[in-house]
Symmetry: C2
Subunit: 318 residues, 2 copies
């Protein structure tokens, strides 16, 4: 067995059954004008239209639904300033589990509000003086709660794989699939679905140019850690792939590409004008590379749409 | 027979068959956070994700597909500075018909470009000194072409009715439906579908507060004409209902409501943040009233998403 055999496509299939009826089967949108721009036929999987605004609910719900009754009673803990926080909060609320989310005191008010609206307890910390992982670990220990990591977890990976499973089923006959890459949960899950359902198709992860640890890791043959990258793609400011995601990506993906912040902003504008979709900077990573490189029939995951209105308006005007 | 019996639900059903496979069956999107704001369960019919960015292709294609071979050879003419122009251009191109669109010289560059991209010939005119209807009539006469009006035509009305037909089929069991109202093509077609498929449901048209000729017409019992209203809803700057749309609305709709420009801008912002959708000012007329008034399970047609990027960014920031 290969080192990546810890998670298989069967786990993605199980996840698909677990999330059915709870997580949206998001639409696949096309735009002839965007196709003309890309020189390819694009199929946009709209995870920005997903519950809580991003694909993250797929993995979070899949992980939480498999906890034992005892674990569910003890509640769950997560640390995230982004889409994973809201996904865990929503999944927990749907399953009647108590969730505690460790978020920086200076998180955008909209994200704090959304997380609380889903019924989670928010524990604040100071980004400059405190270590969020240590706080979350201590909380989990103290309460006997399970810590739900944002990407490096077999159930999270399997859940994230369901988005591209649906895309391949709905669009059919794709030559390639492009997905955003941060810690690799979406890419590794997507690679499992592509290899199982469309073995001839290429599957690429796309990370910010300023944070190309994924590309470096594939070149080095081992996980490379970088400093926190400066990029508008705030959901992909990860510093390293995970011990579960790296081998899956190494063994199953066709490569890792990058996109610059300028390309991300351009892609956001093109999507607003031609596809009428609001997508966050991280969410257009796959599209930005596809616009540059795609040929034939190409699937693109738009991974999320959570962006503050002021920031979004500013990015559109630039 | 009532005076409105000129168009019936059977015509909407025929239109649905005619447009199948050509016009998108657009998704119905939901947002729990928007529901919380509205105090109702909203089902958003995303005609902003329609081909050419608005519902108008439904009526245009339905009308053009019924022309005789001789009429098709002679080409079609339309006058519009908005979504109808692009819809006729696209429908004509799909059917191999030559289209001539009469548009003001000072139309936004993006709209001129889009209309030409669909292969139409654009004939310019001066908005301040020339009468577009006279120009279009003269062109049609000269070439033996059929003039395709933007709303007051039985085939256009029947085509527009297919959007709410799909909405009722996909969302099921709605208590009310809210749609934008300009000249009444969408509202009269929608009313045919509601009366046939959900006879107990209410169907409302929503027009700009500054241009409430529809409300006035229902009160007066006859078509009331107003001066061109000043509103950000540029697609609903019509001055009167039509002779086909008025009787249908009078006999089949449950009322006409209005929304202010402030409410439209608010609704656009709420949609961007909560539903991740770009919708033009006219396109949120139904939603703006639904946010104020809706109860129960409510369908809302988001009628289009064609708005210049600069203007959109400005409306989001205000």
């Amino acid at each position: 067995m290969s080192p990546s055999a810890g998670v298989t496509y069967a786990d993605v299939q199980d996840a698909a059954q677990r999330i059915a009826g709870v997580v949206h089967r998001t639409p696949v949108v096309t735009s002839r004008r965007l196709d003309a721009r890309a020189g390819a036929r694009l199929f946009l999987k709209c995870e920005n239209l997903q519950r809580a605004g991003a694909f993250k609910i797929r993995g979070a719900y899949n992980a939480l639904a498999q906890l034992s009754p005892q674990q569910q009673r003890a509640g769950v803990v997560a640390f995230s300033s982004g889409n994973h926080a809201q996904a865990v909060a929503l999944a927990a609320s749907l399953l009647g589990i108590r969730a505690t989310i460790v978020m920086p005191h200076d998180s955008p008010a909209s994200k704090l509000a959304a997380t609380k609206e889903y019924g989670a307890e928010v524990v604040g910390y100071d980004r400059f003086t405190q270590d969020r992982a240590a706080i979350a670990d201590a909380l989990a220990q103290e309460r006997g709660s399970v810590l739900i990591p944002p990407f490096d977890h077999p159930s999270v990976i399997a859940g994230q794989g369901t988005a591209v499973k649906e895309l391949l089923e709905d669009a059919g006959g794709l030559d390639a699939v492009f997905v955003p890459l941060g810690g690799g949960g979406l890419l590794s899950g997507s690679a499992l679905s592509v290899r199982a359902l469309a073995p001839e198709a290429k599957i690429y992860g796309v990370e910010p140019e300023a944070g190309d640890d994924g590309r470096q890791s594939l070149q080095a043959g081992e996980i490379v850690t970088i400093p926190t990258p400066e990029t508008i793609a705030d959901g992909a400011q990860t510093t390293a792939l995970g011990r579960h995601t790296f081998p899956l990506i190494r063994d199953l993906a066709d490569g890792v590409l990058t996109a610059s912040d300028t390309e991300l902003a351009d892609a956001m504008r093109l999507l607003a004008v031609n596809a009428k979709l609001v997508v966050e900077p991280t969410g257009v990573l796959g599209l930005a590379a596809a616009l540059r490189l795609a040929e034939g029939r190409v699937g693109v995951v738009l991974s999320g749409g959570n962006v503050d209105l002021d920031r979004y308006a500013r990015l559109l005007s630039d």
